[in-house]
Symmetry: C2
Subunit: 270 residues, 2 copies
DNA sequence: CGAACATTTGAAGCGCGTCAAAGCCGGTGG
DNA sequence: CCACCGGCTTTGACGCGCTTCAAATGTTCG
């Protein structure tokens, strides 16, 4: 995570358009009309950049000029202490918006890095403002998405403060599972998992060695299967219980097929 | 932290008005005009409620009808695990706004509790919306205040994940010091400290016993003086260094006398 | 094939948790 | 005014979870 910033690249015509990831996320936070979809599409029509794995999208102290929408790959927000210790404070997945603030020139208090090769679309503050002004339903969805991201951060703090190592890792796996399912990047039984054990250590506040041992323990207990880039859950419900995972804080509603996540009935609430 | 909610009480004429705490905070996030002050005052003219120490203002799952502005006393946001473990994820001080969202009926993902006897003003969503629409400078300040609170939460996660016990406690003391100084409730050398060692344990993810031992260690090192309800810092700079404390994330500008906090020169930035 | 990096394993030690009991208050009531 | 009580703080002993250091093995890619 040393070299900075992304390179502008020529548009590639074959991959899914940048806006669909945002749409898939916002669907969870408000019922979107076709007009909403169209408005989102035109708002995120900006240039797509790409960064290599282990590079930064932005650094602590930067003043981002615009928001970035993750299009493919995994990123993270992290902070580094003066003595080099590093804490990842959240993962960024496709459809996540980074640095969405209403055009205020604020200094970043943390860095944003790419964990894998990553592609992101730049969304100007004006485009966001216009979108929110013209499509109140989308505005509400963006608000809720932001509140949900803060909620995830609070749960992250609980994870670091109260759970022991096996629960911590399991909880992280569950969070990623539901978030990826929500955008159609995970099946009911697992997902593609590009993180190294060092990444997991930085995210959970554990040492890499201990992460390794706990992973073996979880494997031995039949709670996860992790080999290469694939993470599978033989018994997702058991893992959630073991990890003290309660999914409510994510405020997600459906999986990619429009089915209710987490086996609950559609509630009366929104 | 068991009995719920506050009681409406008769207005007391003698204490400082509810709005000045909000004004003192927002001053850090934008230069406020006399008209802005007046608008803030009329927006927070709602009823003032009060709760006893150890009671809740709101519970996980609630749908707050309006925002609450802390007027006096200390509160906290916290989450509880199914097995009873509790994590405090942030302290609430006078001038802090709880549950500020643009009228969206969202479920709370965490509880809000009073750590001391506490007084808070209810601020309706309409009043907030009107304030933000009519006073753009105030709107910007409220935005920045919210971003700062998220920033504090990220640093909280770093504290829990990366710092060891003495640094963790020291960092917490430093955060509270600057935040209290910003609203004129702390001097350069210390402040009134109403928390129990159990509260500190819940906030730092340590056991109460260990908190006790580390406090003695910090006392022995001459970094803090803590007796009764008073916390003092014989050498604030040393404590900040020992705790790996970097104040930037708080995004505060001035102390109560309008002097620059943290000994830095006024920058060109906002 | 070899370099760079990720994973795995072992051994030793410390930080912090747990359990248990003893002091130290401030508040309440007789 | 003092006796009593409950909550907070302090102390000691013990053990476990996790870190650290070090080295071996596996894996990916130029």
């Amino acid at each position: 995570m040393f070299a900075p910033y992304g390179k502008r690249i020529a548009g590639t015509a074959t991959e899914p358009a940048a806006d669909i990831w945002l749409t898939r996320q916002l669907r969870h936070f408000a019922p979107l009309s076709p007009e909403d979809h169209a408005a989102i599409r035109s708002a995120v029509a900006g240039p797509v950049r790409s960064v290599q794995a282990r590079r930064d999208l932005a650094r602590e102290g930067d003043r981002p000029r615009c928001a970035s929408l993750i299009v493919s790959g995994w990123g993270c927000r992290y902070k580094t202490l003066v003595d080099g210790r590093r804490q990842i404070v959240g993962f960024l997945l496709p459809g996540d918006l980074v640095d969405l603030n209403p055009g205020l020139p604020t200094r970043l208090d943390h860095s944003v890095g790419a964990l894998t090769a990553l592609r992101y679309a730049e969304v100007s503050n004006e485009a966001v403002a216009r979108l929110m002004a013209e499509r109140p339903v989308v505005a509400g969805a963006l608000w809720r998405q932001m509140l949900a991201s803060v909620s995830i951060l609070r749960e992250w703090a609980v994870n670091l403060g109260q759970r022991r190592a096996p629960e911590r890792l399991g909880h992280l796996f569950c969070e990623l599972h539901l978030r990826l399912q929500a955008i159609g990047l995970a099946s009911a039984g697992g997902y593609d998992f590009p993180l190294t054990q060092s990444d997991l250590a930085d995210a959970t506040g554990l040492s890499p060695v201990h992460v390794n041992r706990i992973l073996q323990q979880l494997r031995g207990a039949g709670l996860i299967r992790l080999s290469g880039q694939t993470l599978e859950f033989p018994d997702p419900a058991a893992l959630r219980i073991e990890s003290l995972f309660a999914s409510d804080y994510l405020q997600l509603l459906y999986n990619d097929e429009g089915e209710r996540l987490d086996g609950r009935e559609a509630g009366s609430d929104l």
